[in-house]
Amino acid sequence: MNFQQADMVIVGGGGAGLRAAIAAAEANPRLDILLLSKVYPMRSHTVAAEGGCAGVIQPHDSFDAHFDDTVSGGDWLCDQDVVDYFVRHATEENLRLEHWGCPWSRKPDGSINVRAFGGMKIERTWFAADKSGFHILHTLFQTSLKYPSIRRCDEYFCTDLLVEDGACAGIQAIDMRNGSHTVIAASAVILATGGAARVYRYNTNGGIVTGDGMALAYRQGVPLRDMEFVQYHPTGLPGSGILITEAARGEGGVLTNRDGYRYLQDYGLGPETPLGEPRNKYMELGPRDRLSQAFWHEAQAGRALATRRGEAVNLDLRHLGEARINERLPFIRELARTYVNVDAVYEPIPVRPTAHYTMGGIQTDRHTATALPGLFAAGECASVGLHGANRLGSNSLAELGVFGRVAGEQAAARAGQGPVLDPQRLLAQAEDNAARLDALRESSGSESLAAIRDAMARAMEEGAGIFRLPGQLQQTCTAIAELKERYRKLGLVDRSRAFNTEWLNAIELGYLLDVAEAMAHAALARQESRGSHQRPEDFPRRDDAQFLKHSLVYRAADVPRLDWQDVVITRSQPAERHYGDAGQQEAKP
């Protein structure tokens, strides 16, 4: 057992983790900051974000307008004090990235350009062509190299949080190169491990997005919040689920069904806007939950296209012309060419909804602190209360900067004053964990890892997908419980230690099953329809009287325990969500 000490540890080297590391290094240059990740930082899934990053910058825009769009977009399940803080700090984070070299797209005069995005009333999405996440991640990674106090453990796989006397006292990890166990003692730990959409079969997420941090916290009794809210992105490639950015619609792309009809006008998003004249919060610029739901209805009615990769609708960019596509959406053109053999300049791209983002996560307060002293969480793995029941596109990249910084500063403040840690006690704990992990590596049961993983992904899609139908949702809960049982009888083949990915994938599958369980049970408990959580048959309407509350899932022996937490409402009272013309007519709350 290896032993290391650091002032603070950050698990995850994506946007939130890197931003946290930099913030901590700037807050206190004397701190020894350890950034640990199961991949090299530039592999983190932030890299795949395409469309952009929100922040008020136009003179006719306002923090209030961004606040209103976010709160109504989240179907009033956002904590409004958190949203307030977020909209007031997003722009400065975007500017900071600019000062660190992020190549935000520009207007001809050299100033920052912004584009339209779904559910946003005014253009406020900063973008770097259609590789915004890539540029943000590489800028943060490269900038982090400036700070000698940030050291990295690349390709270390976090297996456990260590807890002593009711506080987080560090983490345990496997050095992937040789399979050895390591303890890293630290009185402040930040989880920045990203989302968990790999619990679904069709998803936009990389293979590494397996809910690690969520499960690690859950196993220590920290509640997961709002886990039933999973965002389906309306435009992924059929078959693979690869993301086709919302910016394609922000730039003017339109969605048509098999009859060439712009069907969104039939779903409360119209009237139809003229081709080449996208209008904010109308039609293709409606919010993601509504667009994904509309696809489901079209498919049910037999109006989707049958492609050899499955049902789809058409995303048509042809009217934008080659020059604009090359300038604004070059990566989309490349992806469509490579993965579905379509040149977007000449043909529409087939798309379908695919699981994309977990609105919920590890419950934190607005300062990113979890219920476990010393443990902080930021980014997609966290539920800070920003996204409510449906996240608006481009709010999550901005979240990485705003709350990554907060987490870094908070953890840095604690790192100086945390309790003195006793290495012997931590090592004793870690030896037990290592025995458990090594037993898994040598497990010789009858169950196959791939079979359990695929069954889980199908069960989640069937019962906890875009629409949750009563029998199916219950079945999904049962199926996940059965799969957890089968997981105990796993049989692995690879007994080696050096870069044993079968072993690591098995640990990840354990994480995924915990997260799937939390999602399915939260979905079952929320007996209403709100945002991305839709139960059209048994509870088709929003029910503020009972469910204007965050769900909290606690791990328990058999069935997880559910609890509820009030939503912070400061100045926007719940109202109907309207888009298209209906949104124009509503009185401002």
């Binding site: 991949v39 090299y40 530039m42 592999r43 983190s44 899934h45 890299v47 795949a48 400065e92 500017l95 900071r96 600019e98 000062h99 660190w100 070299g101 190549p103 935000w104 797209s105 520009r106 001809p108 005069d109 050299g110 100033s111 920052i112 590789k131 890539f134 540029h135 590489h138 490269q142 900038t143 190299l145 400036k146 690349d154 190169r177 990389g206 293979g207 590494i208 078959g239 693979s240 690869i242 993301l243 990769r309 990566f331 490349e334 992806l335 490579t338 993965y339 890892l449 791939a450 692995l492 083949v493 690879d494 080696s496 230690r497 050096a498 870069f499 044993n500 990915t501 079968e502």
Partner: protein, 251 residues
């Protein structure tokens, strides 16, 4: 019966193998099947002991670089349809890097080279964020845009004969990254980075084979970056020489 393709995969498990060897697998063929899909099919259905890196499967995370029939490629962006008429496809770990396990290369040397060239914006005075964004026109951005597209996948290092001979050579990716910042109108660090461009392991080690640019999956054109580096290094030399001579004149 489903069509099958043969994939010959390099295996190397440091705990049991003295040297790399090759194992053949039959994989069900489809038109969309990428090398990455084939590797995942093998791992899930045939041999779970196969280790390879991957994540985004959309050619942006840079994890899955391998040699496919002796050519450096991203596994997720390479399709069996382009190889099936030419017999079995051979997949092995990237050339010029030590092998950790199977298709997993030790890329720590590449990452250290990236870190060496001070790849961050350097300014004599950093403006406070409150003063707003630095201005940069689309034309100014265009000067470094291509060099900023590097995903650090290492294909250019696997293609580079000089890096193969001397792992201390900073290599195409790191030198392109240095140029990405040197050519950025907001940056004032070119003089600082010149020590690396000029060093024994810098641009002058490049023998200009140009294969790095050919294999780049993101059209970064590192060979062009190195060439520009040579011009800058020459200019730097000339200016220094001029200053020395002028210094002598003044003396």
């Amino acid at each position: 019966m489903t069509d099958k393709v043969t994939v010959r995969v390099q295996r190397y498990r440091p705990e049991e193998d003295a040297a790399p060897w090759e194992q053949s697998f039959e994989v069900p063929y489809s038109e969309d099947l990428s090398i990455l899909d084939a590797l995942n099919q093998i791992k899930d259905q045939q041999d779970p002991t196969l280790s390879h890196r991957w994540s985004c499967r959309m050619a942006i995370c840079g994890s899955c670089g391998v040699m496919v029939n002796n050519e450096p490629r991203l596994a997720c962006k390479t399709f069996l349809r382009d190889y099936r008429d030419r017999g079995p496809v051979q997949v092995r770990a990237l050339d010029n890097f030590p092998i950790e396990r199977d298709l997993v290369s030790d890329i720590s040397g590449l990452v250290e080279h990236l870190e060496t060239v001070q790849p961050w914006l350097i300014r004599a005075r950093e403006s406070p964020v409150g003063e707003g964004a630095y201005l940069q026109t689309p034309e100014q951005m265009q000067r470094y845009a291509a060099f900023g597209q590097c995903i650090n996948c290492g294909l250019c290092y696997a293609a580079c004969p000089q890096f193969g001979r001397d792992p201390a050579f900073l290599g195409p990716g790191a030198l392109a990254l240095a140029q990405r910042y040197n050519l950025d109108s907001r940056d004032e660090g070119a003089a600082q980075r010149m020590q690396w461009l000029n060093a024994d392991v810098g641009v002058w080690s490049c023998t200009f084979v140009g294969y790095c640019s050919e294999v780049c999956p993101k059209d970064v054109d590192p060979a062009a970056a190195i060439n520009r580096g040579k011009v800058a290094s020459d200019l730097n030399y000339a200016v220094n020489l001029f200053n020395i001579l002028r210094g002598k004149d003044n003396a």
